[in-house]
């Protein structure tokens, strides 16, 4: 019964109550807020797949989001492609970069992987910023056409909302099915102990690359939606701070929990927005929420793994070493 009711409730809210309420309020600002929240839901879900389910701490997720946004921006402004094509194309380009980056880095574990993704994310940011002839650098790309896939005009606030909501729902279904399948169990086995999983015959590196490709595909889709709904992309929107924001959503919501990713995304987008009256405190609020959450709610709101346990185990594996091997002090 629960397996039918819960998705039904989510879909009723997403496609019934929420758009009806927003239309009744008739405020473009609220529609925009709903779109941004849903885009970040997609991002948090994709990161949940990498970090929560497969246990790979990544600090460069915003870069793939940025690749998706720039692909959509360049394809639609220079090539004049339709939004119905730019959105999947963004996902594919982003996933291609994801695989290219995963191939060398997936052999690293834990903090080394985290640091490598941080470095690669910043490399992509620096490239977006400095390849002026292609990305227009710090000026960003403007005048990105709104969503009109295959001749359907969805550029009205309600139409845009429905497209974004549909794609977010699709991402939710995909991530949910992946996480609750034998495939998801294999990923959880990697998270718990990848050497053990390998000994049991799981193709560890291949699984990691696959999950990275799926997650970066979703991040690319989210980027394309951001580009089309905002109409303007700028490298500063895809920097380290944005990766941390997405990580904070996952940590606050709870690692490994799909409702957690959604609640985390909604909380960290809507709460700072509600605090706007006090001044621009978005990032400050994100930092505070994350800190308090780590301190008092180590499992997040819905988590199946404590964030600290994940970090602890991962770091133990990488840095622990045996006391006999570990040299004394500094060399």
């Amino acid at each position: 019964m629960r397996t039918v009711l819960a998705p039904l409730a989510v879909f009723a809210v997403l496609f019934g109550a929420l758009p009806a309420g927003l239309s009744a309020a008739g405020s473009g600002y609220l529609f925009r807020l709903a779109d941004v929240t849903l885009i970040f839901c997609i991002l948090a879900l994709s990161m949940q797949l990498i970090t929560g389910v497969a246990g790979l701490l990544t600090l460069g997720h915003a870069a793939f989001y940025g690749i998706g946004a720039y692909t959509a921006a360049i394809l639609s402004t220079r090539v004049g492609l339709d939004a119905g094509l730019t959105i999947p194309a963004s996902g594919l380009v982003s996933a291609l970069f994801g695989v290219l980056i995963a191939l060398p880095t997936m052999r690293l574990v834990s903090i080394y992987f985290a640091v490598a993704t941080l470095g690669l994310g910043e490399m992509i940011y620096v490239t977006l910023l400095n390849w002026v002839s292609f990305t227009r650098g710090p000026l960003g790309i403007g005048d990105i056409p709104p969503l009109r896939p295959f001749g359907f005009d969805l550029s009205s606030p309600l139409g845009t909302y429905f497209l974004v909501a549909a794609l977010a729902a699709l991402a939710l279904v995909v991530v949910h099915r992946l996480a609750h399948s034998y495939y998801g169990n294999a990923l959880r086995a990697l998270r718990e102990d990848d050497q053990c999983a390998e000994a049991m015959g799981l193709p560890v590196v291949r699984l990691k690359i696959e999950v990275f490709a799926i997650a970066t595909f979703l991040a690319g889709i989210a980027g394309a939606l951001w580009a089309h709904t905002t109409g303007y992309v700028n490298p500063a929107d895809f920097r380290f701070a944005e990766s941390i924001l997405i990580l904070a959503m996952v940590v606050v919501g709870g690692l490994g929990s799909i409702p957690g990713a959604i609640v985390g995304a909604a909380l960290l987008i809507l709460l700072p927005e509600a605090l706007r009256a006090i001044g621009e405190v978005r990032i400050l609020a994100v930092g505070l929420i994350m800190f308090l959450c780590i301190l008092f709610l180590p499992k997040g709101l819905f988590g199946e793994v404590a964030a600290l346990d994940l970090v602890r185990r991962q770091f133990g594996a990488a840095w622990g070493g045996s006391p006999a091997v570990r040299p004394l002090g500094w060399r």
Binding site: V109, V115, G119, M123, G287, F291, R312, W319, W330, R331
Partner: protein, 309 residues
């Protein structure tokens, strides 16, 4: 014509060397804390920034002589380092059982909390002082810009000051670590926290001392570089922090001389890259080095073998 270019290139290398020393100053504190806690202190760049702002406040309100200025900044760094330890690291050292001490649980769970604290600190400073660049009063900043010519080459006095500070800090650190009681206990905790505790070393106090020393050095580096560059801003800690981190990883994570050498190599490489590709692309050098090091030398260039990376 050709030897003019050569001189120019050597000049660029000298500038790169001083940039590398800047990274080295930050990397020393970073590596010190890593050596004891085995955890990346993401808030180290913020300590560096706090040092610069504390120096600016001191200059504006007190206009102290140079030595007093450096001592004030050192004190500010020590206080903020201890506060950071209290807020982001201490709460996670509540695990007292042998298993979690051995798995270094108390140390490694702090990655996320130091990241969160660094965000809060940076944003708070931005709220108080504004996100813009703040100029250091000229009376102080100019003293760092006096040219000293060495034959055909010119060096700014600030570069000499940074070199002197780097040597002094490195020497002081070696002296503290090898010649004082607190240094002895820091090395004991770095080697084996549980063993240190068994023989009566106060681990808590040692960790606080480590943070005080590392953060004091970070803060002094912040004001020196703020003075040398003439302006400071809330996000100034990010780039040197990341580059010091790259230097630490390249050096093999817990080797202080290794980190210093790699920081200088990084500065030189950035200068060469700026020469050939322009300023913007030079930022890429550090990240390329980081990824290449991780992929080809996962234990760092100066690190001993670890079990698994």
């Amino acid at each position: 014509m050709f030897d003019r270019f050569d001189i120019f290139f050597v000049q660029q290398l000298i500038n790169g060397f001083s940039v590398g020393l800047v990274y080295a100053l930050v990397a020393i504190g970073f590596t010190l804390i890593f050596g004891v806690l085995n955890v990346v202190n993401f808030a180290h760049g913020e300590i560096y920034m706090i040092g610069a702002y504390a120096g600016l406040l001191a200059i504006v309100f007190l206009a102290p002589p140079w030595v007093a200025l450096l001592l004030l900044v050192l004190a500010a760094g020590i206080v903020s380092g201890v506060a950071l330890e209290r807020a982001a690291f201490k709460p996670f050292r509540r695990f007292r059982d042998e298993a979690s001490l051995k798995s270094k649980a108390m140390r490694e769970s702090t990655l996320l909390s130091s990241l969160a604290v660094s965000i809060v600190v940076r944003e708070s400073v931005e709220k108080i002082f504004g996100a813009d660049m703040q100029a250091i009063p000229r009376a102080y900043a100019d003293a760092m810009q006096e040219p000293i010519s060495l034959g055909e080459l010119a060096v700014a006095s600030g570069q000499i000051a940074i070199l002197a500070a780097a040597i002094l800090m490195f020497a002081a650190l070696q002296w503290i670590l090898t010649r004082t009681d607190i240094g002895l206990s820091i090395r004991a905790v770095a080697a084996n926290p549980l063993g240190a505790q068994y023989v009566g070393v106060n681990v808590d106090r040692t960790v606080i001392a480590t943070f005080a020393i590392g953060s004091g050095m970070g803060a002094v580096a912040g004001i020196l570089i703020g003075l040398y560059q003439g302006t400071i801003f809330p996000a100034m800690g990010f780039a040197p922090g990341v580059k010091a981190f790259v230097a630490m990883v390249m050096g093999g994570l817990n080797s202080i001389p290794g980190a210093v050498i790699c920081a200088i190599v990084l500065g030189l490489a950035e200068a060469v890259a700026t020469e050939f590709f322009g300023q913007g692309w030079a930022d890429l050098v550090a990240y390329v080095f980081l990824v290449l090091t991780l992929v080809f030398f996962p234990t760092g260039l100066f690190g001993a073998g670890r079990e698994r990376v």
